[in-house]
């Protein structure tokens, strides 16, 4: 057994030494290439670096190698090869920004032709929120004005999104979120002393679209956005209790009912918010605070007093329940993760500006 251990140890050491030798060799190659460049012997540099570029260089070494190649091709007056080398440099490090204080000025000017800004940036989020009904018409089965008290209920949200980046700061964004939103009302004053408690529970698919501005430098990058959302109400139910207060005690009647048929499926809202991104490596974590102000009446006013089969709604006599005409606002706090998909490329005109371009009139010789 001891012999086998020794044998495998020797094999491992041999492989390790070989890889280290290769690393050491490529580093030596890089130094040699640098020396050749400084000595003005340019023609041999690509051949010298290519083997390690294909296999052997780390990302950091690749950046140094491609920087040497870029300068070499610029001096040899081969702009296509220079462009290609710089593009490969950005492929190794998408966040490389040429600096005139550090890099040769011709490389700096060359770098202005390129961008690595991701065209699309996916992200996902998860968070919690609270909701509040914005009453359009306060409806009830009572002939008197009732006392209403709202109680906050915690909801949750989770989803995915993608940013379409116009430039380093501006993006047009879309998301698909699944959320649970709830609120509770305690209403007193029915028949003088009786009261009602109703918890409204809803499930949604929210599809917001918004224009976002975010900072493009630093480890902590604030952002803000404003836009619009389609809100698809997929499920709606209530838990209700009516308490008959008598002089000799209280008697509650409680139950739960699905009321999805009393609500509108398609709704819309204004969405705005902001937060900050924290850079970790090439990716980001973010914290987002969002307010979604409902624009549409959630209640289907044609079904206020009807059961699902179109008859008299027993909720009216069981719990004195008839829903208000209302919109719903939501405030949420989420954390998320952004994984930019870098795409080194030559710069073109922003796609959004194409919307402003008129089609050229066709000219046909008679």
């Amino acid at each position: 057994m001891e012999k086998w251990r020794l044998f495998f140890f020797v094999i491992w050491m041999t492989v390790f030494a070989a890889s280290q030798a290769q690393v050491t060799d490529c580093e030596q190659i890089l130094i040699q290439a640098d020396n050749e460049f400084n000595a003005g012997r340019f023609y041999g540099i690509p051949g010298l670096l290519n083997p390690c570029l294909e296999r052997g260089f780390s990302d950091e070494q690749k950046v140094r190698a491609y920087l040497i190649l870029t300068q070499t091709y610029l001096i040899l007056d081969d702009p296509i090869a220079a462009d290609d080398s710089y593009l490969r440099l950005l492929g190794a490090d998408p966040e490389y920004v040429a600096n005139p204080l550090r890099d040769p000025i011709d490389v700096f000017y060359l770098s202005k032709k390129f961008t690595t800004t991701p065209i699309f940036t996916p992200h996902f989020r998860i968070g919690m929120g609270i909701s509040r009904p914005r009453i359009i018409y306060d409806l009830s089965t009572s002939g008197t004005v009732l006392n209403k008290r709202e109680i906050i209920k915690l909801g949750y949200v989770g989803g995915v999104g993608v940013d379409w980046n116009i430039n380093n700061n501006w993006s047009v964004c879309g998301e698909l979120n699944f959320s649970y939103k709830a609120f509770k009302q305690e209403i007193s004053g029915y028949f003088t002393d009786d009261r009602q408690e109703v918890t409204d529970q809803t499930f949604w698919f929210d599809v917001p679209f918004y224009l976002k501005y975010s900072s493009d430098s630093g480890n902590i990058r604030p952002f803000g956005y404003l836009g619009f959302a389609f809100n698809l109400l997929t499920s709606s139910s209530i838990s209700a209790e009516f308490i008959d207060v008598k002089s000799n005690g209280q008697t509650p009647t409680s139950g739960s009912e699905n009321i999805g048929f009393k609500r509108n499926f398609l709704n819309h809202s204004v969405v705005f918010g902001g937060g900050f991104k924290y850079k970790q490596g090439k990716n980001f974590w973010y914290v987002d605070v969002r307010y979604m102000a409902g624009l549409s009446n959630l209640s289907n006013d044609q079904r206020l007093y009807q059961s699902e089969d179109g008859g008299f709604d027993p909720l009216l006599t069981q719990f004195q329940y008839v829903g208000d005409s209302f919109r719903m606002d939501n405030l949420s706090v989420s954390v998320g993760y952004i994984k930019p998909i870098y795409n080194p490329r030559k710069k073109v005109k922003p796609r959004l500006s194409n919307l402003f371009n008129r089609k050229p009139k066709s000219t046909t010789n008679p």
Binding site: S247, Q302, Y305, S325
Partner: protein, 435 residues
């Protein structure tokens, strides 16, 4: 242009639903329950020209006698004022009208003792709900004993009003075995002064020979002529004693004149429960509504009579049994009310026995054609919760929508949580709670 279209498309979704651009649902439909602690019953309703509504009912609080319950609500059903009136005795409000000077007039019965109810009438200020005047009248029989009066309606006449119903103060000293009750028509001035029958100015009671006679309503045609509507089991044609609708005429002193008209099948008992005057737009006339029982099944029975009665079969414009009200059950009040609609057709409100479907008593609304038939596209609409619910009355609003008053049981039926409340519903012209 694409840019403009894109902006307009987005702006179309930015519109916000508010009370400025969204109709209040209560303008079209509502369901409102009224009352406080205890049980409340809906009886009748009035429409004012300004759109406000007067509601009449009865109220019984825990450890208390039954009282009169009156509310005034706005066109959306919100209470303007709500009051309870009465004495330490049980009162049972039956009808409400508006006097020419705007005062509300409420009539009903007051339970003085066992099998001894008197008639009461009271006036209320419509502005404040304050009680103004009260009168209580009890008849006596030939033995000077207190008798039992039951009120069915009040009708306004020139200078006063007539309270119609029944009494056990029979007109004959020697009643037959079937002479249980006679029809009552007490006359009052607008100042709540009773015109005592003993003065000879006005006769209080009308009855047929050896029969149970009930007067539902008296309608003034002129100071010298009044039409009476009710039901009786008098054997008018030798076929035996079964109940029929009974239409007759009274002279200027309340004395019957001429023969009467009896409506219904000879083998069935027709019970009249309401009389309405058809609106001029629908063709003037009298609409009589009630029930009949055929082979154990309760059916509605509706008759429209022409405006000027000859008290013969020529008076009948339409007649029918449009709806079934379920299996006969003595516990279900035979409430059937119908109105003729201004545009066309009729609306029928009635109690329905839903016990066979393991449900409680409900009430139903039926939109009938001009020929008193159920329209194929408008099946009767049954309304009710888990407990027992009873119809009271209905009115047509100027815009064609329907107001229904009823009594509904809150809770889940059968539980000791249940309480009854007066309910007012605003429905569309088909009797539905949605368009």
């Amino acid at each position: 242009m694409r840019y403009v279209r894109a902006i307009l498309f987005l702006l179309s979704f930015s519109a916000c639903d508010t009370d400025q651009n969204t109709l209040n649902p209560n303008e079209k439909f509502f369901v409102k329950f009224y009352g406080d602690e205890g049980n409340h019953e809906g009886v009748d309703l009035l429409l004012n020209d300004d759109g406000s509504i007067i509601l009449l009912g009865n109220s019984t609080r825990t450890n208390s006698t039954q009282q009169i319950f009156v509310l005034k609500v706005d066109p959306q059903g919100m209470i303007i004022w709500s009051r309870t009136y009465g004495t330490p005795l049980n009162e049972n409000a039956k009808d409400i009208e508006v006097l020419p000077d705007g005062r509300l007039l409420v009539v009903g019965e007051i339970e003085v003792g066992p099998a001894n109810k008197d008639v009461f009438a009271m006036t209320i200020s419509q502005a404040s709900g304050d009680s103004l005047q009260w009168i209580q009248v009890g008849l006596k029989n030939f033995l000077n004993q207190d008798t039992n009066e039951e009120v069915n309606s009040v009708s306004l006449i020139q200078g006063g009003f007539i309270v119609a119903g029944t009494t056990t103060a029979l007109i004959t000293e020697t009643p037959g075995p079937n002479d249980i009750r006679d029809g009552m028509h007490l006359r009052f001035t607008n100042n709540l002064e009773w015109i005592d029958g003993s003065t000879g100015v006005w006769k209080n009671v009308t009855g047929l020979n050896n029969s149970d006679d009930v007067i539902q309503k008296i309608i003034e045609i002129s100071p010298n002529e009044y039409y009476g509507f009710g039901y009786t089991n008098t054997d008018f044609n030798g076929d035996g004693q079964e109940y029929n609708f009974w239409v007759f005429s009274l002279g200027f002193s309340g004395v019957p004149s001429g023969s009467g008209l009896y409506l219904g099948r000879s083998t069935e008992d027709e019970i009249l429960t309401s009389v309405e005057i058809s609106p001029p737009e629908a063709g003037a006339g009298f609409l009589l509504s009630g029930i009949t029982t055929r082979s154990g099944e309760v059916l509605s029975y509706i008759v429209k009579l022409q405006n000027e009665l000859n008290f013969d079969s020529e008076d009948i414009l339409d007649e029918g049994n449009p709806t079934s009200l379920g299996v006969a059950n003595a516990l279900i009040p035979p409430i059937t009310k119908s109105i003729e609609l201004r545009q066309s057709g009729f609306m029928l409100l009635s109690n329905v026995n839903a016990l066979s479907r393991n449900q409680a008593t409900n009430f139903s609304l039926s939109r009938l054609t001009n020929r008193l038939l159920v329209n194929a596209g408008n099946a009767p609409i049954e309304i009710g919760g888990d407990g027992n619910d009873f119809a009271a009355n209905l009115k047509e609003l100027p815009d064609g929508r329907i107001l229904v008053m009823a009594t509904m049981t809150l809770g889940r039926g059968g539980e000791n949580t249940d309480q009854t409340k007066m309910v007012l519903m605003k429905l569309n012209n088909a009797g539905k709670l949605a368009d």
